[in-house]
């Protein structure tokens, strides 16, 4: 385990995580309950309570480049069991958001799978299992992923080769593209709301 230098705390990062998650990370008193119940801990480089501590200490680099934030399954066990009612799974989710924005992918296979899934949704409006698998193999080069399962599931007729495309798939693609353009950025939207409020006030007076 590496040493963490606590006198270099990135306070902006602490605030970013708190804003993104809506949680006060300072409320964590390191009881370790979250880690004790975390089913994915065995795959983590830093346990979830350690991630909480690293956030408190403003250790941006360690948190964002950790595999743990990507390997968290979002199972909500930690949130359910935190005695301080911190939405710990929400904090992990927020770290994923920030890491993604900074293009830090501590567990490549996971982020590639997410990308494959979202691309399938963008093309079809719905997720399509075969398509997602194909994209995933393409993005990771893991062409033999789960091939041994094919003879089990294909005869069941449960894996349609063609996607179910919805009529509104353009609309779904637009949602994703507006997101990529940053149109849901909180500061931008807040500024827009303020401007609206002002013009509404002016209209009244």
């Amino acid at each position: 385990m590496e040493t963490v230098c606590l006198n270099r705390s990135d306070d902006a990062f602490v605030k970013a995580v708190e804003d993104e998650s809506g949680q006060r990370v300072s409320r964590c008193y390191q009881c370790g309950n979250c880690t004790a119940g975390c089913p994915m801990s065995f795959t983590f480089d830093y346990s979830v309570s350690r991630i909480m501590r690293l956030i408190q200490a403003g250790q941006k680099e360690q948190v964002l480049s950790s595999g743990a934030v990507w390997l968290c399954a979002g199972c909500e066990t930690c949130t359910q069991r935190c005695p301080n009612e911190i939405n710990v799974a929400g904090v992990m989710d927020a770290c994923r958001h920030i890491a993604g924005r900074e293009r830090k992918f501590g567990a490549r296979a996971v982020s590639a799978f997410f990308k494959a899934f979202m691309d399938s949704v963008r093309f079809n409006g719905r997720s399509h299992e075969v398509g997602t698998m194909a994209l995933y193999m393409l993005y990771t080069g893991r062409v033999w992923t789960d091939v041994e399962l094919a003879p089990k599931i294909l005869p069941k007729g449960k894996m349609p080769l063609l996607p179910h495309r919805i009529a509104g798939r353009r609309e779904v693609a637009e949602i994703i593209s507006r997101f990529k353009q940053g149109l849901s950025d909180p500061d931008l939207v807040r500024a827009g709301l303020d401007a609206q409020g002002k013009s509404a006030k002016e209209a009244v007076s």
Binding site: P39, T79, F114, M159, S184, R190
Partner: protein
């Protein structure tokens, strides 16, 4: 019995890997008088990949689903999939915040106008229909079937968002399966995560997490594991071979609760769609039938023994009465009448045997 009418969001897996859940859900709802109105041209809720990317993006995909519902006048929606449920529910909660809701609208450009709610199919079954009505529908009891209910990690958690049953030890599915006649075994891993969302990108997660669940189910003596989540189902059923290579040694079928309902209601086989499961469920049903026959034989034996006991007791009472009649002159008439009555009862009991 009032009928229930509600919007329906099947979720993407219903068109593929969980089509047996989809079919049986629709059939069982029809049988119970729950009218499902599918949201027209619904889209994917974005699942884990969307909420791992951004909360507003995830909520925007959910919001389009609700907007599509609005077009058809649908406000209240149910879904079979706990993962969709969590995404849609979290989106609605987040959108109560005006700034967040404005961010979502910046993506969808379709503000929501109606009140919306989203619940699981399981929740509607136990809360609106009720286990008593379900019990009343059973034509082919699941008596003799030993099951463990596996709720998965999301059905009841986080507690504040899901607001359904106990977050760590839920019992809704237990009660429902009991109403179908099954024997529900105590199961300590009801809400433990099976690692389903990582079954593709990581090869070490499923054998360990899903393996533990299957091992425990085998250990407590279950014939099968009943699920309510498409991700859990695929992970525990399709990947059981991969898991078995690493540990458990017996086959455990993994049906959805709605499939068992379809069977207990004696609906057509196509509705139960057991043929879509990878691990064959028929041996478990054969075992159930043998056990049910054994249970019934036991019950008959016990009833016969009870009757025999009653007959002997009546005989003894009659003999005692005879003795009393021979011995004393006072009040003998009344006593003998009492004895005759008892004897008559004993004869009837004997006739039953």
């Amino acid at each position: 019995m009032s009928s229930i009418n509600v919007g329906y969001f099947p979720g993407c897996s219903g068109l593929g890997t969980s089509m047996e859940y989809e079919r049986s859900t629709r059939a069982v709802c029809r049988e119970l008088g729950i009218g499902l109105r599918e949201i027209p041209d619904w889209n994917c809720c974005g699942s884990t990949p969307a909420h791992s990317t951004d909360s507003a993006l995830s909520a925007a995909l959910a919001s389009r689903v609700f907007a599509q519902g609005e077009n058809a006048g649908i406000g209240d929606v149910i879904t079979p999939c706990p993962s969709c449920l969590k995404n849609l529910r979290v989106a609605l909660e987040h959108m109560e915040d005006p700034l967040f809701s404005a961010r979502v609208e910046a993506l969808t450009e379709r503000p929501l106008k109606m009140q919306h709610s989203i619940r699981s199919v399981l929740q509607v079954m136990v809360e609106d229909v009720g286990t008593e009505r379900i019990r009343g529908r059973v034509r082919r009891s699941l008596k003799g079937l030993k099951v463990v209910p596996y709720y998965g990690c999301l059905m009841t958690r986080p507690e504040k968002v899901m607001r359904f049953d106990d977050p760590e030890n839920p019992v809704a599915l237990d009660r429902l399966l009991e109403a179908l006649g099954a024997e529900v075994l105590p199961f300590p891993l009801k809400t433990d995560c099976c690692g389903g969302s990582f079954s593709i990108p990581s090869r070490k997660v499923t054998p360990r997490l899903a393996g533990r669940i299957l091992d425990m189910a085998g250990e407590v003596g279950a014939d099968l594991v009943v699920v309510a989540c498409p991700l859990c189902q695929m992970n525990l059923d399709l990947r059981q071979g991969q898991i078995r290579a690493g540990g458990i040694d017996r086959v455990l079928p993994v049906p959805y609760f709605t499939q068992l309902m379809a069977r207990a209601f004696a609906l057509p086989e196509a509705d139960a769609a057991f043929n879509k499961l990878v691990e064959d469920i028929e041996p478990a049903f054969a075992c159930m039938q043998r056990r049910a026959a054994d249970i019934e034989a036991e019950e008959r034996k016990a009833a016969a023994a009870e009757a025999e006991k009653a007959r002997l007791a009546a005989e003894r009472a009659a003999k005692a009465a005879e003795k009393a009649k021979d011995a004393g002159p006072d009040g003998a008439g009344a006593k003998s009448a009492g004895a005759k009555k008892t004897k008559g009862k004993a004869d009837a009991g004997g006739g039953d045997v």
